[in-house]
């Protein structure tokens, strides 16, 4: 047998597999599972957007587009950034349309990082972040946040983690998996540290539209921050377009110029016909985004209240579509809890430690599923908790995972 590791790059081989993947393999083979494990909207893309993409296929828009994307789309993105976040970007040289926010993040790190340079990642964090930094040759430095503070990171925590090798801070608000939302006040304090230490912020704003209690605020709008912020956003969450794989990045022109070279060599451009759908989304999609936002907000209120009632402590997250309740009072680890809950009651949640060490003791529940399903899930979780009551640490099914 060939030892393929001799061919494969050590760094790639050593990447940690996503903790979510393993769970997916088990849950997807089971029947009658209620999944609170899905990190994407339960809505289908609004019809007008789909219709526009279909029409553009019919009309033969099957060629490459300009590397940074259709100018018309970049103009709409610029209008949207101005209208929604009071941020001005030149469509000609400050915006790139990417294959999801995922590619924008990847390209940003490749553009920023010299070997060994550090990026602060606020944990619990989206599963891709650390791997993307590593693959770009950088070093991910976790900064843990805690439930006591609603999983918000503070300027002091960030300052403590800074070393001479720190290059950038990756912020994500509202956050996946905790739903934590950083308001203007929180961001201002962070911005001061960023400027003091001459750092760059990569701001993942993919959940910006899904903010429920306070007005969304981009850190790039703060004094002196526009120059040192790479704003990353996309269509996946706000417009229910995850499968379209469309995102974008907005940044100061010298950064975009370098990112564009990488983007051009790795991907050429985002799919032409789908970019037409994205134009429609930005032009006419606002009302539907608002409808979806309201719907998520109701479900958030419901699930937070319900989880607390059945005995899982849970803060009210300011955005995204995740809640991150504590399961510490069950005496189980996150993985034990998630595994046993899946086996016994067929509810899929993601163990919190999949998002970093500080997620241990928590589970991520996505409420992007119908209210009826949420109610049934709560009923099952309650039953599961009651069954634990007698002997919470027994883990009869663990071996099967």
């Amino acid at each position: 047998m060939i030892d393929y590791n001799q061919f494969l790059a050590t760094q790639a081989v050593e990447l940690k597999p996503s903790g979510i993947r393993r769970f997916f393999d088990v849950a997807s083979k089971m029947e009658n599972v209620i999944s609170l494990g899905v990190g994407e909207p339960d809505f289908v893309t609004p019809w007008a957007i789909r219709d526009m993409a279909i029409a553009s296929i019919e009309d033969g828009f099957t060629s490459y587009t300009a590397n940074p994307g259709l100018l018309e789309l970049r103009e709409e993105i610029a209008n949207y950034m101005e209208r929604s976040y009071h941020l001005s970007y030149q469509p000609e040289n400050q915006i790139i349309v990417t294959i999801g926010a995922s590619q924008a993040l990847d390209t940003a790190f490749r553009a920023l990082l010299n070997p060994g340079e550090e990026v602060l990642i606020i944990e619990p964090a989206f599963v891709s972040y650390a791997a993307l930094v590593t693959m770009a040759g950088g070093k991910p430095i976790p900064v843990s946040t805690w439930a006591e503070n609603g999983f918000k990171v503070t300027a002091e925590q960030i300052e403590k983690a800074i070393t001479p090798r720190t290059k950038a801070i990756l912020l994500c608000s509202p956050n996946n998996p905790t739903g934590a939302f950083l308001n203007k006040h929180d961001l201002s304090a962070i911005a001061e540290v960023v400027k003091k230490h001459n750092l760059i912020v990569v701001s993942d704003e993919i959940y910006a539209e899904l903010t429920y209690d306070e007005e969304y605020y981009s850190i790039a709008t703060l004094p002196g921050m526009y120059e040192r912020t790479i704003v990353i956003n996309g269509f996946s969450k706000a417009f229910a377009m995850t499968g379209w794989r469309l995102g974008y990045v907005c940044a100061p022109q010298p950064i975009i110029e370098v990112m564009l070279k990488i983007h051009q060599y790795t991907t050429m451009c985002a799919p032409h016909m789908l970019q037409h759908g994205a134009i429609e989304a930005l032009r006419n999609g606002a009302d539907q985004v608002e409808e979806m936002r309201k719907s998520y907000r109701r479900r958030r209120n419901y699930i937070v209240e319900a989880l607390n009632q059945i005995g899982l402590n849970c803060h009210l997250p300011g955005g995204a579509f995740y809640v991150f309740p504590s399961i510490q009072n069950t005496g189980l680890t996150s993985e034990q809890f998630a595994e046993q809950l899946l086996m016994k009651e067929r509810v899929a949640v993601v163990p919190g430690n999949a998002f970093g060490e500080s997620g241990e003791g928590y589970i991520r529940c996505s409420y992007a599923t119908s209210l009826q399903q949420l109610q049934e899930a709560i009923r099952r979780i309650e039953k599961f908790l009651q069954s634990l009551g007698a002997n919470p640490k027994v883990c009869e099914h663990q071996a099967s995972l």
């Binding site: 999944s35 899905v38 994407e40 209120n301 209240e305």
Partner: protein, 167 residues
Amino acid sequence: MKLTNEELEILAILEENHRQSVKSIAMQVQLSEDKVAELIKKLEDENIIVSYPALIDWSKVDGKENVVAMIDVKVTPKRGVGFDEVAEKIYRFPEVTSLYLMSGAYDLSVTVEGKTMKEIAMFVSDKLSTVENVISTTTHFMLKKYKHDGVIIEGKEDQDRRMVVAP
């Protein structure tokens, strides 16, 4: 009538599905159950919530298949009462399930339900066209219901196509 955000939320929730407990609604709008019950009562009293019908697909029920017709009716409005008096005469018939005053080529849009086409034809010739001030009727039989009151009857999109667990 100007409503608060909470009241609007409650209406949106009930419009989507009114078969849920006050408790469930209260949890979604972050109010107490008593408060929600009070607001719903108020909205009912104001006739903003008019009723709570269920959308039933009778075509699936043996022996209950029915025929629906939409009828364009031209009428001569009556001095002083306009169209209201004719409308009233028409909507009193139990066969009539909806009635709207329209702009454009005709005046009243009448929806009628019956067991058979013949039954509806009889209704139109015997009852509707003989109502005073009705000038003409044009009957359109409905062949298939795709969407009703915002609800797609049998949507392809009802199925959840997402993976069970995703980042």
